[in-house]
């Protein structure tokens, strides 16, 4: 296969994924006492974000949504500043002005984190418009949920990107599989009449492909191939990554319903139990990758454990950093509306 992951790349992806997971766990822990607002965890979708980011260049631009934590952390942004932002602290990326919905780290290539469903699609198209005429063969990436395709602006922007052959990668993270839907008093999962979501970009002559979003090899290969095509001037590409929804997304104010991830469950099935055992066993992308890397001989249990401990330590530092950061000065609210 042309875009086969090397062991090194797989390990990189695992590190990104573990950072995402441990970060979200830390967010949940901190949120109990310190958080205000409504937040959306990335748990269960790590394989998508990490594999996409692995395939990107550092100069590529990213535009994302309300469910952004994983993208920011996976791209290597400082978890301390991310957590500080989520807590509304002065040392957060946005100085506390954005919060969970709008984490933005420009130096890592993030241009916008819009909580308007569908927003990222139009903005990424615009970034692609600028990049097309700039030197550097750089591309823009939009991360968005399946629900974003319900917004008309998504359709308009896909059409524009296709017409103008813009260098944009559209990553649709479809997490509606297994979603409980409106019955639970939650946002309904995606409601679109298309039998296949990819039929929509395809109708606009955009090359589109649907992959298992919990399978790092599948995501990476699809993305790497699409990126190569985009850089070769073939215009926008669309990838749908399908994940089975993490059960913790169900409650509206997410708690860690599957508990703190026990990595040993990857090599010792007996550690899996409880209400959500099925999801943990079959659909947790982190455990799935750990299992695969160990089976494959790419990593030993000890190595995995060491990587994890290291990341958990970093998250402890991030937590302390964020909690030590002051809240912004109230009067500063009036500043910075204009450049």
């Amino acid at each position: 296969m042309e875009y086969q992951l090397t062991h090194q790349k797989s390990r990189d992806i695992l590190e990104r994924m573990l950072k995402m997971r441990r970060f979200e766990e830390a967010v949940c822990a901190v949120a109990e006492d310190h958080f205000f607002g409504h937040y959306h965890l990335y748990i269960g979708q790590e394989a998508t974000g990490a594999s996409v980011i692995e395939a990107l260049d550092s100069k590529d631009l990213i535009l994302t949504t309300h469910r952004n934590h994983g993208h920011i952390i996976g791209r290597g942004a400082d978890p301390g500043k991310a957590m500080a932002e989520i807590l509304g602290r002065a040392d957060g990326f946005n100085g506390g002005r954005g919060g969970t919905l709008h984490l933005t780290e420009r130096s890592k290539g993030f241009l916008s984190t819009s909580a308007v469903v569908g927003g990222a699609i139009g903005l990424a198209t615009g970034a692609g418009y600028a990049l097309k005429r700039a030197p550097g063969n750089t591309i823009s990436v939009a991360f968005f949920g399946d629900g974003a395709l319900e917004e008309g602006t998504a359709f308009e922007a896909l059409n524009l990107a296709s017409l103008w052959s813009l260098p944009v990668l559209f990553i649709c993270e479809n997490n509606s599989h297994g979603a409980p839907g409106a019955a639970a008093g939650e946002y309904p999962s995606s409601v679109i009449a298309a039998k296949e979501l990819v039929a929509i970009p395809e109708s606009l002559d955009i090359r589109a492909i649907s992959v298992d979003g919990a399978d790092v090899q599948a995501v990476y290969a699809a993305v790497a191939e699409a990126i190569a095509a985009i850089r070769a001037g073939l215009g926008p590409h669309f990838i749908e990554t399908n994940t089975v929804r993490w059960p913790g997304s169900r409650p509206l104010w997410p708690e860690l319903s599957t508990g703190v991830t026990d990595l040993s469950a990857a090599w010792d099935e007996s550690r899996i139990s409880g209400e959500h055992a099925e999801w943990i066993r079959g659909h947790d992308p982190v455990l799935r990758l750990v299992r695969h890397l160990i089976d494959d001989g790419a990593l030993s249990i000890d190595e995995v454990t060491k990587i994890d401990i290291d990341i958990r330590d970093k998250m402890m530092v991030a937590k302390s950093f964020s909690l030590a950061s002051p809240l912004p000065e109230p009067e500063s609210a009036l500043e910075g509306v204009f450049v």
């Binding site: 607002g37 509304g88 974003a148 917004e151 609210a333």
Partner: protein, 323 residues
Amino acid sequence: MSNMTYAEALIDGLHGCMSEDERVSLIGSFVLGLGPQRHLVDRLRNNFADRINDPPTSEAAAAAAGIGAAMAGDRPFVDIGTASFIFEAWSQITNEAANAYYMSGGQIKTPVTFHMLHGLRGGGAAQHSHSPQAMLFNCPGLEIVLPASPSDVKGLIRSAVLSDNPTVVIDHAKLLGLEEDVPKHDYEIPFGKANVRRRGGDVTIVATSLTVQTSLEAAEILSQQGIEVEVIDPRTIVPLDKEAIFSSVEKTGRLVVVDEANMSCSIASEIGMIVAEEAFSFLKAPIVRVARPDVPVPFSPPLEEYIATDADKIIAAVKKVAV
């Protein structure tokens, strides 16, 4: 009478409308948002399942569907959710709903109701905290309703659904838990009739939505300090009960206008300006506005609090003009 929350009263009002008229249906059912009261909507879901239709995340189509259905004889209640997202349906509301009756020379009625939750909700940040009422006020053809109490919301929501005009009902997320005695039977509250929430001879406050409550708090404190404030809640912005405002200002000579939304071109600006134009001779002091400074809404609590319209700011404004 029975004691109920604002959220319960709202659902009660809607329940009455849906029981009576089969042509009333919901397009979008997150009428109470995603907060703790959301399960109260189940009362409607259980009784009128076939008349509750949750659209995709397509505010424009949902609004257009409501408008088109109303033109065809239905009486739809379209829930937009967080008010910031009405901007996705702006063309439908300003260019279709608002114009249809006038533009058709009176042939086409559009008895649609749009509903949304506005304002600072705590941590909503810049894209979930809008108060679009002032922008809507700048668009002729829409009735605009801003309830501020449980008994008002029950009657106003009924009047909105029964109205043959397109009507926008804007609730404040922070009002949903407010409790009060509310009449058990169904009733309407006529549009364009202000509610004088407190009598006082020193200063007139005109406030809407959540800021009516804030103003009442401020009035209580001011009263202890010897300043008697009259608090007027117009309840509907279109139509607006100017007379109630003028007759209060005639008495007090002093006006503070309180608003949740951004200062510039706000409802506070409009109401103040109307007085400066039509009741100038009554004025003994500058008109003062208390509204949000012109900044996007920041996420962090101390920042959000700093720009919010609170009792302290109202008290300071009143003291500025009181003798």
